[in-house]
């Protein structure tokens, strides 16, 4: 029996689509907005060039990593192609004291937080499982279990509350936490529990959902019958949908939600409506489940092209800017390639380090057992 799950009692889904918060159209036209304009009124042409640079360089890191995977230098890569604006807009809305909890696809947020691009590669090359110190950049390690980090972010925000680091009015003290996740994750129990915890505790956390339309092969309608941002209302906090390919809009709505958290006014949900232009990961084959026409449709909404059009049309850049950025981009990619190949494989016995803060003797004995076993080959090969 086939159940027609597409049938709904509320008619044509398209008719129910909510308005996006959008400040920059796909054609690069600035759309005035009575409220959200006030949240980015400090943004200068220089800042927009900076955002453009973030978008371009983070995309370059991403495309280089895909290439490194194809060349066998990485075991896997999860491309963020198409999601740069959502990540840069939210990432640049963060203050140094704010704390971000990513999935495994937040490469542009990592860029904004100052995490070295090479450090992202260790996990995917298989030489470590997270090589940066989350305390240095307030950017937590990548979390692969879908949605698990939303609870960590919420708990961290509860700690921020207990530290009295919200609502003081001190812009360098008041702290927000941002939890990144995707449309697929909204079906996870952990995400729903995080919503509940954040709500009843009024925790200073922003739930930033990048709705990229796909959970591997499953389209959004496998996860939800209502626009995702509307879920927030049932949990008792505000939610909105933003054009996830519009870096200015993402910056504005993230600033609003983060400040709300810092002020002690509780959690928010942002649904950044975007599209995963690439495969789920380098092992995925999206031609099996989606149409090339959809991809073309979204290509016209590219997050980078619209900023470029805006800058050019407004005469806010010269050719030198683009030439310099091209050069910087290629240098970044070259350095990444070199650094990736230079990443050393871990020593076999290093797996015993950091299982525990205080390792038990039985574990240390296993380490010695491994070392002796490995040494036995060295002796055999030695005097040849």
């Amino acid at each position: 029996m086939t159940v027609d799950t597409a049938a709904t009692s509320t008619g044509d889904p398209a008719a129910r689509e909510p308005e996006l918060v959008q400040l920059l159209t796909p054609e690069g036209q600035r759309v005035p907005h009575e409220y959200y304009d006030t949240l980015i009124e400090d943004i200068t042409a220089e800042d927009i060039r900076g955002l453009y640079r973030d978008l371009v360089l983070s995309r370059r890191i991403d495309s280089e990593a895909v290439a490194l995977q194809r060349q066998g230098e990485l075991g896997l890569w999860a491309s963020m192609l198409g999601q740069e604006a959502a990540q840069v807009g939210s990432g640049r809305a963060l203050r140094p004291q704010d704390h971000a909890f990513p999935t495994y696809r937040e490469h542009a947020v990592a860029w904004c937080r100052g995490v070295e691009a090479t450090q992202l590669l260790g996990l995917f090359r298989g030489v470590d499982q997270g090589s940066w110190d989350p305390r240095e950049n307030n950017f937590h390690l990548y979390t692969i279990v879908i949605g698990a980090q939303t609870l960590h972010a919420t708990g961290y925000a509860m700690g921020v509350q207990r530290d009295g680091a919200i609502g003081t009015g001190d812009p360098e003290r008041d702290t927000a936490v941002i939890a990144y996740f995707g449309d697929g994750a909204t079906s996870q129990g952990d995400v729903n529990e995080a919503f509940i915890w954040a709500s009843v505790n009024n925790a200073p956390v922003v739930f930033f959902c990048q709705n990229n339309q796909w959970a591997i092969s499953e389209p959004l309608e496998r996860q939800t019958r209502v626009p995702l941002y509307r879920r927030a209302h049932g949990f008792g906090f505000p939610g909105l949908r933003v054009d996830g390919n519009d870096v200015l809009a993402c910056l504005a709505v993230s600033r609003e939600a983060l400040q709300r958290a810092r002020d002690g006014e509780g959690p928010s949900l942002i649904e950044a409506f975007t599209y995963r232009m690439g495969a789920h990961t380098t092992t995925d084959d999206p031609t099996r489940y989606r149409l090339a026409a959809d991809l073309e449709h979204w290509r016209l909404k590219d997050p980078i092209e619209r900023v470029k059009a805006y800058l050019v049309r407004g005469d806010l850049v010269d050719q030198q800017f683009f030439d310099d950025l091209d050069a910087e981009s290629e240098e970044l990619a070259g350095n990444l390639r070199t650094a990736c190949r230079a990443l050393p494989d871990p020593e076999p016995t290093s797996i015993f380090e950091h299982v525990y803060v205080e390792p038990p003797p039985t574990l240390l004995a296993q380490r010695d057992e491994m070392a002796q076993y490995l040494d036995s080959f060295a002796e055999q090969e030695g005097p040849r």
């Binding site: 499982q129 279990v145 609870l151 960590h152 700690g159 207990r162 129990g189 525990y356």
Partner: protein, 338 residues
């Protein structure tokens, strides 16, 4: 347990406490010593927990430190991870053994692995308290012994107290541990009492087992609620002229088996007793290691006296499922029959 209650009438801090009150006193002391220690779980605040282990703590330490959480175990563990990352030391209560599983994912994929994943940069000093075991006539999911799942997971430490004195010290030692600790509380022994000095020093480090009865004919290794059962078995065996070494393992991950090896080298026979089902249980690991370490001393196979490999049964047959004095003695008889 006899040697764990050196009560001295002269000491002013001496108190006669149940296991429940001892854990409560240990939590209280930990919270007094370190204002980063938090208690969180379902009904732990106003109610003081369904077993009253956290009774009075919210009143004295406030709602920010003794948190009545929403009813969702993954949420309890997952937010504890975040609180620990922020510098807190959460003590999570799982209301009953069988309810830990909604939080199992967070425990196994996050709590156990965060230190390793971060190359040692991050620590999660979280304690997860779980009342466990049967014998209380409860409905399904309220009598289980899931300790092996956690002892099988690298990155977690797992302990079980068996008496009030250990309960008092082990909870405090677990809270000061920088690794995550799963703390199993023998719920059917919750109301066992002992008098002891609350201001004394703990007799043992957390991860150490203890010989609780000296004997020469066979060794009995056990933990948690079965320690009392095995002590009763040892007393009964003594009347028949058999003396049993009884060892309270106390720590299940890591295991501290040196006292077991020493004992087995003398007695040549080992019976391992636990409520949990047999296959791949703690007893299986103890048997394997004793076989490795004491092979030439063994006079008989290692005998496991355990729950059976069934789901925990309805309460009216739990007495047949659970090891009792007679089944322990039967196990000893089998060991001695070789």
């Amino acid at each position: 347990m006899t040697d764990t209650t050196p009560a001295s009438a002269e000491k002013p801090a001496s108190a006669r406490l149940t296991v429940v009150k001892a854990i409560n006193a240990g939590l209280r002391r930990s919270m007094e010593n370190d204002d980063k220690v938090l208690v969180m779980g379902e009904d732990v605040g106003k109610l003081g927990g369904v077993f009253r282990v956290t009774d009075g703590l919210q009143k004295d330490f406030g709602e920010d430190r003794v948190i009545d959480t929403p009813l969702a175990e993954s949420g309890i563990i997952g937010t504890a991870v975040g609180l620990a990352l922020r510098g807190y030391r959460p003590v999570c209560e799982i209301q009953f053994d069988g309810f830990v599983f909604p939080g199992y994912d967070q425990i196994v994929t996050q709590v156990a692995k965060m230190h390793f994943r971060s190359g040692g940069r991050l620590r999660l000093p979280i304690v997860i308290r779980i009342p466990y075991g049967g014998g209380i006539g409860a409905v399904e999911h309220h009598s289980e012994s899931p300790e092996a799942y956690f002892a099988h997971t690298p990155g977690l430490k797992v302990v079980s107290c068996s008496n009030p004195v250990d309960a008092y010290w082990m909870i405090q030692q677990s809270i000061t541990t920088d690794d995550p600790v799963v703390f199993f509380e023998p719920k059917r022994r919750y109301y066992e009492k002992a008098e002891f000095d609350l201001d004394a020093e703990p007799e043992l480090p957390l991860h150490s087992s203890r010989v609780v009865n000296q004997g020469t004919d066979a060794t009995v290794a056990t933990y948690g609620p079965m320690v009392k059962t095995c002590m009763e078995a040892a007393a009964a065996a003594a009347e028949d002229g058999r003396s049993l070494d009884v060892i309270d393992l106390r720590t299940l991950s890591p295991l501290d088996l040196e006292p077991v090896y020493q004992s087995v080298r003398r007695t040549g026979r080992l019976v391992v007793v636990h409520e949990a089902q047999r296959t791949l249980g703690i007893g299986t690991e103890v048997a394997a290691r004793v076989t490795e370490e004491c092979f030439y001393s063994l006079e008989s196979p290692v005998i496991r006296v355990t729950g059976y490999d069934t789901p925990y049964p309805p309460a009216r047959v739990e007495d047949d499922y659970l090891p009792d004095l007679d089944r322990v003695l039967d196990g000893v008889d089998r060991a001695l029959s070789y």
